[in-house]
Amino acid sequence: MVSLLTPLLVLLCLTCNQAQAQVICTGEQERARALAQRIGQEWPLRGSNDQVSTYVRNLGQKLAQTVAEGQSLVWHFNVVRDRSANAFSIGNGYVYVTDGAVLFAQNESEIAAILAHEIGHQLAGHFCQSAPHRDISWSSSFFDWLLSKQSGEVEEQAIGSLTQVIDVSKEKQADQYAVTILKAAGYNAGAMLAVARRLPKQDGMAHLRDHRRIEALENLLAAAKDSKPSQNSVEFQQVKKQVGG
């Protein structure tokens, strides 16, 4: 029995490494871990046993497992205690959403859409560019090296004490992954569009509201022909109530 299993396990392991190689790049683990540590020191994060954290982690894991590339990664979903709506990822499977993002979502499909978009950044390999030489404060400008500045569609945005660079082309790529993930997980992919259209300009997720992205999303969803109704759950309502309390 063991002799039969061994080649299979070796094969699985090889497949696992190949999949991981597509989404985790050289130096990404070290950079992301260092930044995650810094975020943990600076920002008020919900504890891992917290009800909201548990819900977001379980939902994030469920979404990430729907695509092959996501299955080989170790994901870290965290919730920041902040009432403004925001979500971002920093590489090596680290994804952050704020209390405000949970409050902003009107149903489970919408918070799934926000998470799926951030998972999409990871799966699209947006953290693969090597870091330029920086001084000791490199982490405060972490997002500078994530995204190309050649497209002319890039803007900087502060998140806490970090600077995030928003690149429309990369956001569109993350959206494509998100639509695939949402459909595979059985969620209404149209929730992406609902979130994007409703975002206020001053919020941290305002980059989702870019009209070019909204047009691209409309085309993407039309092609996807997704007509599922938005999903909700008692658990989501409980979590939302707790965050709002």
């Binding site: 600076e42 902040d82 009432r83 502060a158």
Partner: protein
Amino acid sequence: MWSNKKSKVLCVALGCSLVAGCATTEENQQMFGAAGGAMLGCLTGTLISRNAKGCAAGALAGAAVGWGAVKVSQYNATQVRSATEDKRVYGLTKPPKSTLVKINKGVAAPENVKPGAQVSVVTDYSLLVPSGMAGADVTQSWVLKKDGKVLANLPPQRVYRQAGGWTADATIPIPSNAKPGTYVVETKVRAGTSYDVNQAVFVVES
């Protein structure tokens, strides 16, 4: 089943306790607490029944509110680190775009208290503000819990704070009728949209 008079006494005593709970708070302000609840209960009981028995009934009702009447009896906050020192100690990076608050630690002392004594809840937090700002309004509030149930929401303290590290000390009187057991005091510090929560534990002895 309660008589109408008893119901009236209890309702008005509760009302007074709630009014006391909603009073504007200042730093270092002495507050009523359970004793205040009893006093107000006595007064309102007298007003309703127009005799001394009413006072006694009202006082009993006010005091019986217990945790519901408890407030922070004393509140002191001291800046213990400048914004620069905070960066050095906690590795805070450049100024954020929006205000950030982070609790570094929080404890309740003593860990074991007798009913009628008081417990001190000490919270150390860091306040980080955007460039161009010297400080921000900070709201600190406390929730008392036992066995997962909320016993009391203590009136919050709202004060302007300079950026940097702060230690806030809130004294909470333990009602004389507090049941023995483990209690949790949940401290929340909020500035702008950012907030942090810490749970400290103390034990009321029999």
